[in-house]
Symmetry: C2
Subunit: 454 residues, 2 copies
């Protein structure tokens, strides 16, 4: 291992160059106009896997392509499948970026770029950890497979079908996903639980055109006012709970033991508020912020659009109003059931003279894995060596749909080993990734291969 | 008059060419990037007034310029001031226009263009009516003044100061404003009442950046959810009334006589709904649609903006959310008092962890003039000759701030003589103006000069 680690340390600069090259590709999966860039990112990953010694190929899907790679030269040893995603969130709002989102820029030891932490930097750390064995020992101590998708940010639309249809190809003993974060600097973390998601858009329509608010104000329905009224009724103001009938029916309450463990984590509420410039952390009554983000379901407006959004005044009653609304789900909520509850509730709140329709932009089931498995213990050991710090176990409020998919179709649990930080500004302007953490991630990946070979 | 009318009929084509030339100038007052086009429109109007025989000049303001013209050659006769505005609303949403908003296009006898009816076509009809006397009789039978402003669509920000500072210049016996509409085709109308306006934007802010809705959902305030909650509370769902404390304190209730007159107007609710593709006309309980739009105050969201508005899904908790909200006011509401009531109410509804600020995009007082004055009778006579149809008297739900301004500073009431139609799509895509009504408007203006000379 000392040879491998020395090699990793010597190649620090080259690793960064490779990361920057990948970050320059605007592989925004939500934007249909970026299909060529998505393709370019997929080709980049395939070429990287092939160059280091894997058999690699691209699998087409009805959406964006999947990259698959494998090296099965460690006869009799376990097989580890690394999952990651080469697609990124849209960079909007652009004007808030301090440097171009697709021109990686280093400030204070961090690289700033869309996708730096989510997930290009993290999955590339695993790829490079494997590469270090090819370049020093002829190959890793375990068999490796890579599945790097291009639709994670649009809730992995086509991945489940691919996994279900390719069980033999993807067969493995352990899955490693690096798309989560450390608890905070100096607290590398293994994640054992993820929330699910149901992402909807509601479209309301009143009259057939925008109308002069003077001539028509008072006589016609206003879908923007109605939308506000409907959204307002989706929460109970007293309890902070989501007010969709049946929403909590399947929610598994936190057990006292786990609750006590969460309370022991070094969460600094003052620092958290300061970092976000907030004076309070409101939410569902009776739960701490960590409990609310990791173990409780939520409903949040992610976007509102109606009427005139330009400068100054335009006196129109909008013809239409729409809201993007995502719900984060916890075990044992079923996203399809939640979608129906959501649509039924909105329909029941919508007055008859307003036309309503819906779009669904993705679903993922929540997942929690045992926090005391031998694999998790090995991952903690690797992480502690890679980062030189004691690890903690955490849950995450985010969704990584593939974890549930792997569990269902391959029967294998995922190890969620995160190299990022909670303030990496995922999905926000000025996303970043610590270059030191990138390097520690590569070291961790190498240690993890050795641990999993045991 | 027969010579004048014959001249008007002979020049139909030229009048249209001149109108189209003016409509090609995108003089959008709300858009700071259109300052040069605003200037171009002002120069066009000035040149037109000068060419036909008036002394004309441009007055600068801190905002957009005013065009003033006069001809005082009718010694001993009354002076009539014509008011209009050369600025237009923004054309958004562009994709709903069937032809370019600034390339006038004729379909079915209508010219389609932004500003066709509001107000370029209407004020130009008055200008051309005056011109017809210059070209046939050496000059009109009364003294004429023109005041054509460039900020009507941004609630005439600088006009009041100009009028107050130029009382001598603007001194007149009668004011004519053509910025309203016929009641419906075949029912030319004089308007005796306008609503006022108070146009606000509310800006809410939560965290300092957009946040990942998975990582943060449940722990941080969501300004889009909060904005919806606040807007929802601005109406009483039971009565349809605006739920701002004190909002109705100064509202003058409709008297039974006027109510009966309004009920006699040939308002076709079925046709109105059909035209707008609506199944109901909701609003304040206990009032008809005409009463609600003309004589009752309203509050409408004119625009909503928050978070991600692009295609597909982006899972962010927005840092900010904003709403453009206009309130239409009736006698004797005071826009400044309403602004304070509005701000106080929003502040009281806003939770302490959300930052709130406001912008005001304009104010106008409501105004109602006597419906039985001699001047109004003369205007009705001119309108009936110009249109060849019996006239009706109406109120309007819109705001023409200058009417109140003229009343206050010049002590002169305005005659609101409208040539447009209620379905001209003012402020909407595909604004239009009937070319036949444009021609009838020119004829009406000429008759009106003769009537007012009596």
């Amino acid at each position: 291992m000392s040879k491998v680690m020395a090699h990793i340390d010597q190649n620090k600069k080259r690793y960064q160059d490779e990361l920057f090259e990948l970050l320059r590709i605007p592989s925004i999966s939500a934007d249909p106009d970026r299909a060529a860039d998505i393709r370019r990112a997929a080709e980049f990953v395939k070429a990287k896997l092939a160059a280091m010694g894997c058999q690699a190929r691209i699998y087409e899907t009805p959406g964006h392509p999947l990259v698959y790679g494998e090296w099965l030269g460690a006869k009799g040893r376990p097989t580890v499948l690394f999952y990651g995603h080469y697609d990124v969130q849209p960079p909007d709002p652009l004007e808030l970026w301090h440097s171009q989102p697709f021109e990686p820029t280093v400030r204070d030891g961090n690289v700033y770029a869309r996708g730096a932490s989510d997930d290009k930097g993290q999955f590339l750390a695993n790829v490079l950890g494997v590469e270090s064995f090819f370049q020093t020992n002829g190959g890793p101590p375990v068999n490796v497979k890579f599945l790097i998708e291009g639709e994670e940010e649009v809730t992995s639309t086509n991945l489940e079908h691919f996994v279900a249809a390719n069980r033999e190809l993807l067969k493995c003993d352990q899955i490693v996903v690096s798309d989560t974060a450390q608890f905070k600097p100096g607290y590398p973390a293994i994640c054992y639980g993820l929330r699910g998601i149901c992402y909807m858009e509601v479209f309301l329509r009143g009259a057939n055109i925008d109308l002069h608010s003077g001539e028509y104000g008072g006589a016609v329905p206003n879908p923007a006012n109605e939308l506000s009224r409907i959204i307002a009724k989706l929460h109970d103001p007293k309890t902070g709970k989501v007010a969709i009938p049946g929403f909590y029916d399947d929610v598994v309450e936190l057990d006292p033991k786990e609750r006590a463990e969460l309370a022991r984590l070094p969460f600094d509420e003052t620092d958290y508020k300061k970092r976000l410039d907030l004076t309070a952390l409101p939410g569902e009554n009776g739960y701490s912020p960590i409990e609310r983000t990791w173990t409780r379901p939520t409903l949040d407006v992610n976007g509102l659009t109606s009427g005139y959004q330009g400068k100054g005044a335009k006196t129109v009653i909008p013809a239409a109003a729409s809201a993007k609304i995502s719900m984060r789900l916890v075990p044992n909520m079923d996203p399809k059931k939640v979608q129906k509850q959501f649509e039924d509730t909105i329909r029941s709140l919508c007055p008859p003279y307003i036309n309503v329709r819906f779009a669904n932009f993705g679903m993922a089931k929540p997942v929690v894995v045992p926090s005391d498995s031998p694999a998790l213990a090995r991952a903690r050991a690797a992480l502690e060596k890679g980062f030189g710090a004691k690890s903690v176990i955490v849950r995450s409020g985010g969704s990584i749909p593939v974890v549930e998919t792997f569990k269902t179709h391959l029967g294998v649990a995922s190890l969620l080993v995160g190299y990022g930080l909670p303030d990496d500004a995922l999905h926000s302007p000025n996303e970043k990734f610590s270059l030191e953490d990138f390097h520690r991630g590569i070291r961790t990946a190498a240690h993890l291969l050795e641990e999993l070979a045991k």
